[in-house]
């Protein structure tokens, strides 16, 4: 099981380099395409700082497209990392924040915040976090005691909690009679259109340390996949590890949900795809998920902006349209 350290480092570096390149290419595409046309060369010039300052393209690239692309990368990284963590902790390939109801809980919190008229940050983010924590506590209580690691109980509770959350969201939407309804419906489908650089910076300042904490726990995640007794005998404090990982993941997910709405399937597709490509070692998978998930989300958001002739569609539509069939395909291949 133990892999030699230098070899491991090499694998992490190799995966990170390849995926960073993919991420950079996709980010460049995301920055150079949008609802207004401009040549690739002009975009290059602006990015190199050689464009005319204060030109329209300059504003569009630095103040509209760049924050949006960065936000998409952060959201994608968080969601696929969230999926990876839940799949490891619950030892179930179907686990994902969206499916477990953690996203749904944040959405209920966030919608309540919006209806109370709170500001997007920190007001709505806080209500979203309390929503997701409430769901998490509920999940843990429902499958409490030694049953924590029994994957079916927790997953089944999660699926039911998610259905319940969906019902509450529909209830809140249907009793809302005013103009805010429009915003909520778009936001529910995943909306990245209103990102400014300050908001992205705050988000990054909270999310990046979370990524590091999860990377720090990645070896423990490997051991926990081998089973409770095995992990304990290898010196992993299971309870502490589980609570840390669950709380950190919920914090990350609720933050991204309050910023960008409900975006599903990223946490299923990316970890599975990467596991197929680079194997099950979480020490490699964690950085790979951050980079690969980011690239996937930037790509989906780009499609959401470019496909419709007028306006744009919610990014969540694209992630689900690509994600669900891909997931079914993967599932079939796993079975064979």
């Amino acid at each position: 099981m133990t892999i030699e350290k230098p070899f491991l480092l090499k694998r992490i570096l190799a995966a990170a380099t390849v995926l960073s390149l993919v991420l950079l290419v996709v980010m460049f595409l995301g920055i150079s395409m949008g609802s207004t046309d401009s040549g690739v060369k002009a975009v290059f010039l602006v990015l190199l700082g050689k464009g005319t300052p204060d030109s329209i393209l300059d504003t569009i690239i630095w103040q509209l497209r760049l924050p949006r692309v960065l936000l998409a990368a952060l959201v994608g990284a968080t969601l696929s990392l969230g999926g990876l963590v839940f799949q490891a902790l619950l030892r179930n390939p179907l686990a994902e924040p969206y499916i477990l109801g953690i996203s749904g809980g944040s959405a209920i919190g966030a919608i309540s915040g919006i209806l109370m008229g709170l500001s997007r940050f920190p007001g709505v983010s806080l209500t979203a976090f309390s929503g997701s924590m409430a769901i998490l506590v509920l999940l843990l209580v429902m499958s409490s005691g030694q049953a924590i690691l029994k994957k079916d109980t927790l997953l089944l509770s999660g699926v039911m909690v998610n259905a319940f959350c969906a019902a509450i969201i529909m209830f809140l939407v249907s009793i809302t009679q005013d103009a805010r309804l429009h915003n909520i419906i778009f936001w529910l489908m995943g909306d990245l259109s209103l990102s400014d650089i300050k908001q992205v910076a705050i988000l990054a300042a909270i999310l990046l340390p979370c990524f590091i904490v999860i990377f720090y726990c990645s070896h423990a995640m490997n051991l926990m996949l081998l089973g409770k007794e095995m992990a304990q005998s290898m010196g992993v404090n299971i309870k502490v590890m589980m609570v840390t990982l669950l709380v950190v993941t919920s914090l990350m997910v609720s933050l991204t949900v309050s910023q960008s709405g409900l975006i599903g399937f990223v946490g299923l597709v990316i970890p599975h795809l990467l596991r197929l490509l680079i194997g099950p070692d979480h020490r490699v998978l964690v950085p790979a998920c951050v980079l690969g998930g980011g690239a996937y989300m930037v790509f989906c958001d780009l499609l959401a902006r470019v496909i419709p002739k007028q306006g744009e569609m919610p990014a969540g539509v694209i992630t689900a349209l690509i994600g669900a069939p891909l997931f079914i395909f993967l599932l079939k291949r796993f079975r064979q």
Binding site: T36, Q177, S193, L194, D196, Q310, G311, E312
Partner: protein, 307 residues
């Protein structure tokens, strides 16, 4: 002693603040006007805006009505009146504005509506150094206010006043005519088909129904209340007015649905009417057209006498 020094410091601060404000006021460049818009924001207006973007169809109509369309460089989706507006570049719909398209048009002034355009978008435009003036056009009076405000901004005071006078006299004419009738039919104004949605008291359609001599059966605190079929039947409306967003084929379908309920007085008397949704879905100067149309539908007897 201590008290005295505190007083001194306080006096000093007051003088300092006074000096600072006077300096600031004196510093403001004279070529740009700073006005307060209907959102209570201070907006620095360009002197002679040449590249305007209207962020709602109603604003487009107001600018065209003022004869200032040469200043307009962009409009929102569904800005279909007058016909010339359809040819202007579109910047998304009024609830989902495309920031990139707006920036690319390089506007020197955007006109927004207070309720409708998301506040976040307006803030983002401000961040991008694009001045946004928000008007609060939501019924006949505020449409006239918006006409006057935008007229002032665009140096078109005269045509604004002329339009307002014209609107006032047409409203008055309808009022006088309707006052001759003692009878106020109950109206169910259906703006949403599935679910059935009508209009509450705080809407311009309610205002028009009342001015046109009708009784709005859906009045109440909720602006756009939903109804079940049962509730509508029990309200027994004398007239059903339907504004389908999806064309007249949808109207025939809805009409057929209602016709299954002969207990409704409107069905008995065949008073189910189609109204052009474009007239009724935006608070533009054409609200007066809507008012005249509605009063004719509600009180056809008064118009027959007049002819």
């Amino acid at each position: 002693m201590l008290l005295e020094s505190i007083m001194k410091i306080r006096r000093f601060i007051i003088v300092l603040l006074f000096l600072m404000t006077t300096c600031f006021l004196g510093y403001a460049p004279s070529f740009a006007r700073v006005v307060t818009d209907q959102l209570g924001r201070r907006v620095r207006l360009p002197d002679n805006p040449q590249r305007m973007v209207a962020l709602a169809p109603s604003i487009t109509e107001i600018i065209f009505a003022l004869g200032q369309e040469h200043r307009l460089k962009g409009v929102t989706m569904h800005s279909d009146h007058p016909e010339a507006a359809q040819k202007l570049p579109k910047v998304g719909s009024y609830v989902r504005l495309d920031l990139e398209k707006i920036v690319a048009l390089k506007p020197d002034l955007c006109i927004a509506v207070k309720d409708g355009n998301p506040k976040k978008v307006i803030e983002r435009l401000e961040d991008l150094k694009i001045p946004v003036y928000a008007v609060d056009a939501r019924n006949l009076n505020t449409v006239m206010d918006a006409l006057r405000e935008i007229g002032q901004i665009l140096d078109a005071n005269e045509s604004a006043e002329k339009l307002i006078r014209n609107m006032r006299s047409r409203i008055q004419r309808v009022k006088t005519r309707v006052s001759k009738s003692a009878h106020m039919p109950g109206i169910f104004f259906q703006i949403g088909i599935s679910p059935i949605v009508s209009v509450g008291t705080d809407t311009f359609i309610h205002e028009i129904i009342v001015l046109a001599g009708g009784k709005n059966l859906a009045k109440g605190p909720v602006s756009y209340p939903r109804f079940s079929r049962e509730q509508v039947i029990s309200l027994s409306p004398d007239i059903l007015i339907i504004t389908p967003m999806t064309g007249s084929a949808a109207f025939e379908k809805v009409k057929a649905q209602w016709s299954r309920w002969p207990t409704i007085p409107a069905v008995q008397k065949g008073r189910i009417h189609l109204a052009d949704p474009n007239l009724f879905d935006r608070p533009s100067p054409r609200l007066v057209d809507a008012l005249e149309l509605l009063s004719r539908l509600i009180h056809p007897e008064l118009f027959e006498e007049a002819q």
